[in-house]
Amino acid sequence: MPPSDARAAPALPPEKSGRVRSLVTPEGVDLHLVLADAGERATAFLLDAAIIIGCLIAASIIILLLALAIQGVAMELLGILWLFVFFGLRNVYFIAFELRTGAATPGKRALGLRVASRDGGPLTADAIFARNAIREIEVYLPLTFLLTQRTGVDGWIVLAGLTWSGIFALFPLFNRDRLRAGDLMAGTWVVRAPKRRLLADLATSGADDRARFAFSSAQINAYGVKELHVLEDVIRRGQAQVEAEVAERIRRKIGWTGSEPDREFLGAYYAALRGRLETRLLFGHRRKDKFDV
């Protein structure tokens, strides 16, 4: 038996990586939420941090220029403005964005993430405040320790403080649900909520060639659902090299002698295989993979 056909599969899909959590709606359907992984969380945060710092610099420059331009009169107002901009960016930025319907900061939105309540209920304002207040000890405290320059005994104290506060910064790495300390405290988590497009049904395009490809029953029975999904993935990606390899392997396995273009062959075989497997599904049998009879 040749090595598994699943070699062309993409990196570990979410359902295998232990990041799928069940969320059963009141209607009784499980939505299979996928948690954001640590890398996505970190990227989203860095994006937000970049936006915050960018805004702060821009606001400072504008306020400084204004101050130089109008000399005197409204200096006090400008000073107040700057203080509130700083306070707002540090504390209000995350809260305000997560309070909106999308429950995501620009960084999270860019990565297709959102905050959700762990118990599946509505996400409340107090939860959002709680999860973001903790940033004080997750981000700003380690930063303070990092920026403190000391030597001797004080240096060791700073190092101890950095280690201690670093535990909070790296908290998401130490638990299964990738919770920040703030998530733990607020009863929230961050899930993927990507906007997917509904792509064309592959069986429809494959059906054109139904007449040209008359697979025998035995040929169609060679594979199960797992292989079907791998095949779907290969066709959707449309990389000629991979398609050629997969087509070659299927031809060999089912003993197909025709030499039609790989793409057409794969499409037709996909449509036929899916038809067969779905029929069996309707009769109550889901054929997991090619070893399942």
Binding site: D126, D201, A203
Partner: protein, 333 residues
Amino acid sequence: MPAPILKSQRFRQEREADWSQLDRLLRRIDKEGPAALDDRQLLSIPVLYRSALSALSVARATSLDHQLVEYLESLCARAYFFVYGARSHPLERIRQFFLTDWPNAARALWRETAAAGLLMLLGTVISYVMVLHDADWFYAFVPGAMTGGRDPTATTAFLRSTLYGGQHEALSLFAAFLFTHNAQIAIFAFALGFVFCLPSGFLMIYNGCSLGALFAVFVEKGLGFQLGGWLFIHGTTELFAVTLAGAAGFRVGWALAFPGERARAEAVGAAGRQGAILMFGVVIMLFVAGLLEGLGRQLIVNDWARYAIAATMIVAWSAYFYWPRREASDAAV
């Protein structure tokens, strides 16, 4: 296009229009907010959501089109968050916060508030006694930058001048600075509660210490009464707010250490959300305190007037939080 041969294809073709309509509505809400939709569109969302959800169940059971199932899962999840997300009117929410949520949270945390208050008092008394006994302790309690010359070596005249010689320019800037600075500290005190209460407790004691040390210096020069007015005009509000922030931190740390019958994460979550409500209030109180300190104290130099404001504020806050009132549910009965 040939007639579909698979049942799953027919299934998809019959419902695709509904799904894409739901998708379009959700995308618009994402971009422009729920207000952009008219009533008919808003009302259609739950209906479309339920039909998409039932389609998802059917698709999982009968269709092997992986992409379709993934699409429906993400569509349903997005719709679910919208349909079951809490969306009360902002004004209604603010009203509820001031009428019930905030005072309720303050009342529920009375034990923690008392503990935080006692710790602060303890710090005050200890440092007061110590500084009276040996003035050198002052420098251990109060960081040098904060004193502005108000240390044991200062003359009576100078100390008196710091109490009344308000610099009248840039008062509102000063108020804004005090507010942002204090609010930051309060949020920090709350966040520190997550580390099993201790740092919040230290912060309370430390805060009391600088207070006590300052009092010791002024009392020695016979200016204790005057300092009280200078401090409490905003201090009753500010110290109360800081105490509440510490209390919210205590509640979280306590739930983390002793979750009781509930799971730890659940207990911490409940405590965190309750604390967060209180913290919203604390930020508001600190805003008031910033105004009193930045403007009121500089403009009002009469000791009795200062004390009157201080007393009014503490009575008003206490009555607002702790005055017995009927619960909303009782009122209905």
